[in-house]
């Protein structure tokens, strides 16, 4: 396990029950509830790929299982993830940037005092709740 993820793992596992660490490509998978008025199902798995430079560099985007759609049947703004070793998943474009396009990722040596995976996963939940807006 990536050493920075290993530091955070007990916290992740306590916040997201059933969280999984998959070594290749290295990612963290969690299950989250969805708003049934927005999506075609009540819950989904979400995977976040761990960049090798994590925590200095932030995750970029997240993945959901292919087939997840909005309640009206339209597709999520996402692309097929087969190319990077995750067939059956879609990569959703999601960046932690401000209005000028600058990164708002602010990590620190101690993950509890700066940005971390739990915060990133929480942001993806909010993003999904906002219909990917």
């Amino acid at each position: 396990m990536h050493p920075r993820v290993a530091e955070e793992w007990p916290e992740i596992a306590s916040v997201y029950l059933g969280a999984r660490h998959i070594p290749s490509p290295e990612r963290v998978e969690v299950d989250i509830d969805l708003e049934v008025s927005v999506y075609d199902r009540p819950n989904t798995s979400v995977a976040v790929l761990i960049p090798p430079g994590y925590r200095a560099t932030s995750p970029d985007g997240f993945l959901v299982p292919a087939g997840l759609r909005f309640a009206d049947g339209s597709n999520l703004p996402a692309s097929d993830a087969t190319g990077f070793g995750m067939p059956g998943w879609l990569l959703v474009s999601f960046h932690l940037i401000d209005e000028s396009g600058a990164s708002i990722w602010r990590p620190t040596a101690d993950f509890q005092r700066g940005d971390n995976l739990i915060g990133y996963l929480a942001s993806t939940e909010s993003f999904l709740a906002r219909r990917c807006n």
Partner: protein, 449 residues
């Protein structure tokens, strides 16, 4: 077995422990097994109230000991117990009390921290004695302080080499400048050079002339015609033969030192190269991207390897161009490039991402355009030479290293920068002394072992 420690860490530990003199002091060192030795990651000096008042000899109270062992266990560290014998001089040794107490303590610790070595050190003002217990038995534990020569106390100098007995005519002028010891230290170093382009080729040339005899050369580019304007040692035929830049550097070294030891383990993103760089005495980084700088910064922090980084830049449009360069020396325990805010993490993310992810970003139109950078051989030469002066300061103690400086070629100025270690640094602080557990090989593109 050697306990490798950043010189500033060792100096502070030594000072804090001996502050109790003439009374003895005690500390627990959290160490990381790495290769055939140990790395000092952190330590805790026991306070007065944590020492056992009931004991006539120095003894750490059971409660403090148990709490600290639990911390070491949680962190997955190895314990090195250290205490002092003030006034014992350089020939300090374990006392009879130590010899009685150590065997049961070793059994206790190895029960609490199984499958890990246990080390014990006794320090005086000018010496130490050490022992380490492993599954294979007991052996001496030596201390190797890593840092610039002026910061390494003689009693903890791992680079003890016999001074060259014969003054080689070839290095005569240099020995007159740096002394016999200085020349000896240069010749004993194993230097890793990463990036063998415009600045790297000049660094290699100077290292070879100075007398460095052991190299790890990391680069996988081939020479192109456009490189000839700045690649030291290249000939006009090299692009035609598509010679590798590493072959040019090797040729430069061999012409001066036919028997030099030269390892060429490939690119920085190969496992062999990352492993080889963890085992050098100093890394010289001459790359043109922050992804590689992040990898080297992390590796240097993890294995306590000094890392000298050279960067040049010509930015903006003529005539309002900024031309200059930067020399940064990350000494173990000191500030790194990220502490100095010299790493662009957005660029790092792009440099290190997988090809598949990059393709997705290109398709979506938000990949950063990387233009061909302007370059000038004289600028490379000035900055490479400034870097070499810091290398000499580090290796020979000519003067203390100036870790961060900037060369403004437009104004013909050299600016010394003051940089402190950032306690929040996300690059060097978590990696410091972590050795193999930092898993630097995750940056390899050719898979892990």
């Amino acid at each position: 077995m050697e306990l490798r420690a950043a010189a500033p860490d060792l100096a502070i530990l030594h000072r804090q422990l001996l502050a109790r003199a003439p009374n003895e002091g005690a500390a627990f060192i959290a160490a990381e097994p790495s290769g055939s030795g140990l790395l000092l990651r952190s330590y805790r000096v026991f306070r007065e109230r944590e020492l056992d008042p009931a004991s006539s000899e120095l003894s750490v109270a059971e409660e403090a000991q148990t709490a600290e062992l639990a911390t070491l266990k949680r962190g997955g560290h190895t314990l090195v117990e250290v205490h002092t014998h003030p006034g014992s001089g350089p020939a300090v040794s374990f006392s009879r009390f130590d010899e009685e107490q150590l065997p049961p303590f070793v059994r206790y610790v190895r029960l609490k921290l199984p499958k890990r070595p246990f080390g014990a050190l006794v320090l005086s003002e000018h010496g130490y004695a050490g022992r380490v217990w492993t599954d294979a038995g007991v052996e001496p534990l030596t201390i190797g302080a890593v840092g610039q020569r002026t910061a390494v106390p003689a009693w903890a100098d791992p680079r003890r080499v016999d001074p060259i007995s014969q003054v080689n005519e070839r290095f005569d002028r240099q020995i007159r400048s740096l002394g016999r010891d200085g020349q000896t230290w240069i010749q004993a170093l194993r230097v890793g050079v990463v990036g063998l382009g415009g600045t790297g080729s000049q660094m290699v040339q100077q290292l070879a002339h100075l007398g460095v005899r052991r190299y790890v050369l990391v680069e996988d580019d081939v020479v192109e015609a456009s490189n000839l304007a700045r690649l030291a040692g290249a000939t006009r035929w090299d692009p035609l033969f598509r010679r590798r830049k590493v072959a040019i550097a090797r040729r430069t070294i061999r012409r001066l030192a036919p028997t030099a030891e030269i390892k060429c383990p490939g690119s920085l993103r190969q496992r062999q190269a990352l492993a080889a760089l963890g085992d050098v005495d100093v890394i010289v980084g001459c790359v043109d991207n922050d992804g590689a700088r992040l990898v080297m910064s992390e590796l240097a922090a993890a294995y306590l390897v000094p890392y000298l980084d050279i960067g040049v830049g010509i930015e903006g449009d003529r005539p309002a161009r900024t031309i200059g360069g930067r020399v940064s020396f990350h000494l173990p325990g000191g500030p790194c490039l990220a502490c100095a805010d010299e790493i662009d993490f957005g660029e790092v993310a792009e440099d290190l991402e997988s090809e598949a992810l990059r393709n997705v970003r290109v398709q979506r139109g938000y990949a950063r355009d990387r233009r061909v950078e302007p370059a000038l051989m004289p600028l490379n030469g000035v900055v490479a030479s400034l870097g070499m002066m810091e290398f000499l300061a580090f290796a020979t103690g000519l003067r203390p290293v100036i870790p961060f400086s900037r060369y403004d070629a437009t104004a013909a100025r050299l600016i010394r920068q003051s940089v402190e270690v950032s306690p929040d640094c996300v690059v060097c602080r978590p990696a410091h002394g972590m050795g193999d557990r930092q898993m630097v090989d995750r940056y390899a593109l050719d898979g892990r072992a």
